[in-house]
Each structure stands twice: as structure tokens, then as C-alpha cells.
Amino acid sequence: MKKVKCGFIIALIGGVALPQDAAAMHIAEGLLPFNWAAFWFAVALPFFAWGLYLLKKRSQEDLSFKPLVGLMAAVVFIISCMPIPVPFAGTCSHPCGTGISGILVGPAVSVVITAAALVIQALFLAHGGLSTLGADIVSMGVMGSFTGFLTFRALRSVRVNMAAAAFMAGLFADWATYFMTSVELAAGIRGEAAFLPLFWKVLIAFIPTQLPIGILEGAMTAGMVMLLYKKRPDLLIKMRVIKDREVAVIGAVLIAFTIFFSGVAPTEASKWTGVDEAVIEKIAKEQGREPKEPLINMEQGDLPLFIFLIAGAVGGFAAGYYWRVLITEKGSPRCRGGAERSPETSAKIRGS
């Protein structure tokens, strides 16, 4: 127990006091011994092979699918390189981006996307590594993508709102990634020590940063899905995230909503009393202060008609007076700056 408490202090030192880098979820090159590195490669391999098979199949049907997957890998790379300050922890962390790719292109292809982003990061940024690629694919690609995808689909199947489903998908994808990273890290570095105590220490070390960043990733995923839904619903249909029927139903609801508020609502509103009458006048009446008639009552007699007549006459007179300014030349022509033109210059300008 004492060691766990000490673990929390170390976690705070590691997670808060030290400036965390922008790629905290990757297991660094060389961190895992050979047997564990090989084991995680073996775990990742079937998912990767399944993703490649689906990629090949779908790119035969649609030639733009492979470039799309490549560009999604670039997007995941950029997203997972963007540090977001976490004010609660006083550190920087970054989203994984695998939740959104799992939702958009499916979890198996998302494993390939993650693998591509991880290879480039390992080679050029030293985030992760080639020897730990299998472990990183399992935590980010497999756990992140599948958790994100399954959460989104499960919540949508019970008619949960799309933004809420995307939020939960991003949240759980992020947390699942860090859970798996803790398992891999603890198993890899434990040596002769017991697995579980070290696992809890690593998990606790992640909590100050990853608990809030999971919420941020959820919000980000929801924002991304809703932006796509608003701007390009056709892409979500193409990616099989939503169905035509869903767009038609939501479109019909929006049209009905608009018709209701533009047509029916004003007629209904006319029957309703305003807040002045319902509250202020009512309370004043209860206190014995009856409202008085206004000095000039616009709702009585032909007064508005008379005012409109006067306004029309004044407006017509003013318009008629200034109309001649537009069609006739008044006074001597002047150059820019106010200097008087000579008759010759005026003649040249007129072309005569």
C-alpha cells in the first residue's frame, strides 16, 4: 500500500512536474525486450492483414480509396503530433485520432492507417519505434480503432444522438489506448517484479494527463463528425457511417420544424400574451396600479395613416428635388482636389 502511494508521487513527478512530450502514448524504440516486441507483432499481425485485405478489396471497387486511406494516415499523423495543453495537469498531450479513423473507414482499415502513421513517426520523429511497432499498433490501432468503432455503432444502434455517440467513441478510444499501453509497458519492463503492481503504477502515471485528454478527444471527435455531417453528409454515407434513410429522416424533420415555426408558430404566438401583460401588468393590477391609456394611442383612429401620408409627401418632395442633381450639371466642373477646370479641359473630357 505504501509502495502504491509512493507510486502516485512518482506518477505526479513523471506526469506533472516533467514537461510531457507530444507523443506520450507511443512506446519508445528499445523499451520492450525482444520476446515482448515479437509477441505484440504477432498479436497485431492478423488485424493488420485483415485491414490490408479490406483495403485491397475496397480499392479495387473504388480507385480513390487508397489515396483516401493514405491521406487519412497523414491526418492521423498530424493530429497525433499536435500538443494540446491540459490545464488540469499542467502538461501537454495529444489526441490519438484513431477513434475518428475507426468510425470513418472501419476499424480494420484504421489499423493500417495507424500503422502507416506510426512507421513515419518512428522513422522521422523518434516517436515510438520499429521494434515497438507491434505494441503501438495493438494499443493505438487495434484497441483505439475497435473501441471507437464499436462504441459509436453500439450507441447509434440504440438511437443515441450522433454527437453524443461520437463523443463517447473518442473518449473510450483514447482511454482504451492508454489502458493497453499500460499493460504493454508493465509487461515489458517488469523484469522479475510482479505484473499487477507495476501496471497500476503505470496506469496512475497516465491518469493526470490522459483522463482530461480523453474528454478532449471525445469532444474533438464529436466536433469532427458533426462538421462532416453538416458540410458533407454524402461522405458519411459513402463511408457507411450513416445511411441515406437517416439523412432523409433528419431532413424531413428539419423541414417540418421549419414549416412549423414559420407558419404555425406566429399564429399561435398571437394568441399568447407577452411577458409585460402576463407578469408586470398583472402584478401591478394586484397592487392596485391600473395601467393608464397612452397620451397618443397609435392603435386608435387614422393617426398612423395620417403620419404615413405626411412621410410620403415629404419623401416624394425630397426625391423630386434631388433627382435633377443626377441628370443636370450644376455649377462649373472641378478637377479632383477642387481646382477649377479650364474650358479647354472640359471640352476634351466631353470629347467635343
Binding site: P67, V69, I120
Partner: protein, 249 residues
């Protein structure tokens, strides 16, 4: 993004075939991971760092590349020193809790740290001495699935395009106080990433149309490697044998 672009084209290692460099790197990497001890790993780290220094890598890039691994080494070292082992080395009080460092933990931490440093510096040598298309061709030669290599090539090409796009959007958002507080920051980041995905969709459509017009049939042509030179094969065999002997000792 400058980290992605650095390539020591003048160095003698850059003239060696990428397939040989990749193969030797992978073999030495496996030796580093499977070695039980510290000396071989420290030797590999020292040799690799010497090679990197001879490539005249700018200090800023070097520090950027090694900052994250060094931080991880530090955290792992702390975890191992204070939570692994039985033989106490020293102890002190922190916030009312007594922390004890263990001899076995220190040994394990140093072993893991040296393994990380060796592996990271080895990979850095490979990457700084090999251009990306050649590295991809070498991966293809190692029978890595072609579809995956194509995805890597697309991703590498469009990282720069999308990164520039992201920076333009980020500056525009920042100029409009999009990152003034935490709530704005969150919303702006959502819009930024969503816009990137929209751009990726649009770019992929444009790209595939352009490629189909130029005869794209679903497979991208890869960089063609030249035949091996006997001197390269001899050098690689020498390096692997020497490393193997050192690994066995």
C-alpha cells in the same frame, strides 16, 4: 516538420544501398533487443551517435529527436529504481513518504535506458542517411505488402500539404482569438481537425482523378533499386559479423 526533411546526402553512408542499410540496421536492432546486459548496447549507442555527429546534424534537430526518448528513459529509470529490487541503495523522505532506491532496480533501469538509447540512435543513423522513397523501395524488397507501402508514400507526401493547410487554419483561428481560452481552444481544435479531414477527402478525389488520367490502375510504381555492389555486400557482412562477435562476448 523539419525533422522529416533532413537527409545527410554528402555522407559516405548515404551512398550505400538502402536495402543493405535497412537489413544491417534490423539485424543489429534484434541483437540490441535480445542482449542481456549493458555493454553491447552502450557500444552500439556510442557508434551510432558518432556516425550521427559525423553527418553534421543541426543541434536543434538532434535535441528534438532525442528529447522524448530521453524523457522516457528518465521516467523508466525512476520507476525501476524505486519500485524494483530488494537490496536498498539509499532512501529519503518526500512529502512524508519514504522512498527507497534499490540496487537491482538501478541495474534494470540502466539496462532498459541503454537499450532505448542504442535502438533510437541506430534508427536515427538509418533515417538520416536514406531518402524516404529509397527506404520504401527497400521495405518493398523485404516483402512488406505493396498496399501498405503505397499508403506510406501517400501519407508522407500529404503530411506536408496538410500540415501547411493546418497551419493556415490555425493562424486564421488564432488571429480571431480562437485559442483565447480553454473552451475556444477545444472548439477551434475540433474545427481544425474536421477541416483537415474534409481537405483529405477532397484531395484524395482530386488526386485519384489526376492519377487515373495518367494511367493509374490501382498500383503505384515504386523506386527502382540498382543491383548490389560487391563492396557493399562485403562491408555489411563485416559489420554484422563484428557485431555478432561483440554480442556473443
Amino acid at each position: 516538420m523539419h525533422l522529416l526533411e533532413y537527409y545527410a546526402s554528402d555522407h559516405w553512408l548515404a551512398r550505400i544501398d538502402a536495402r543493405i542499410k535497412l537489413l544491417v540496421t534490423l539485424i543489429v536492432l534484434i541483437m540490441v533487443l535480445s542482449y542481456q546486459g549493458v555493454s553491447f548496447q552502450l557500444l552500439v549507442a556510442a557508434l551510432s551517435l558518432t556516425l550521427i555527429m559525423s553527418m553534421k546534424i543541426p543541434w536543434r534537430l538532434f535535441l528534438l529527436r532525442f528529447s522524448e526518448p530521453l524523457l522516457i528513459v528518465l521516467v523508466v529509470l525512476l520507476l525501476k529504481i524505486f519500485f524494483s529490487g530488494h537490496d536498498p541503495l539509499f532512501s529519503f523522505d518526500i512529502l512524508g513518504f519514504q522512498l527507497t532506491a534499490y540496487r537491482e532496480g538501478l541495474a534494470e533501469g540502466v539496462a532498459i535506458g541503454s537499450r532505448i538509447m542504442a535502438a533510437i540512435s541506430l534508427m536515427a543513423v538509418l533515417v538520416y542517411a536514406t531518402p524516404f522513397p529509397e527506404l520504401m523501395a527497400a521495405l518493398s524488397w523485404l516483402k512488406i505488402p505493396r498496399g501498405f507501402i503505397e499508403i506510406l508514400l501517400y501519407a508522407y507526401r500529404y503530411i506536408f500539404v496538410l500540415f501547411e493547410e493546418a497551419m493556415v487554419i490555425y493562424q486564421a483561428q488564432k488571429n480571431r482569438l480562437g485559442y483565447a481560452n480553454f473552451r475556444n481552444r477545444l472548439s477551434s481544435f475540433g474545427v481544425l481537425t474536421g477541416s483537415l479531414i474534409l481537405k483529405a477527402f477532397e484531395q484524395s478525389q482530386t488526386l485519384s482523378t489526376a492519377m487515373v488520367q495518367r494511367g493509374y490502375d490501382g498500383n503505384m510504381p515504386l523506386f527502382q533499386s540498382r543491383p548490389f555492389r560487391s563492396s557493399e555486400i562485403f562491408l555489411s557482412c563485416l559489420v554484422v559479423t563484428a557485431m555478432g562477435i561483440l554480442w556473443r562476448i
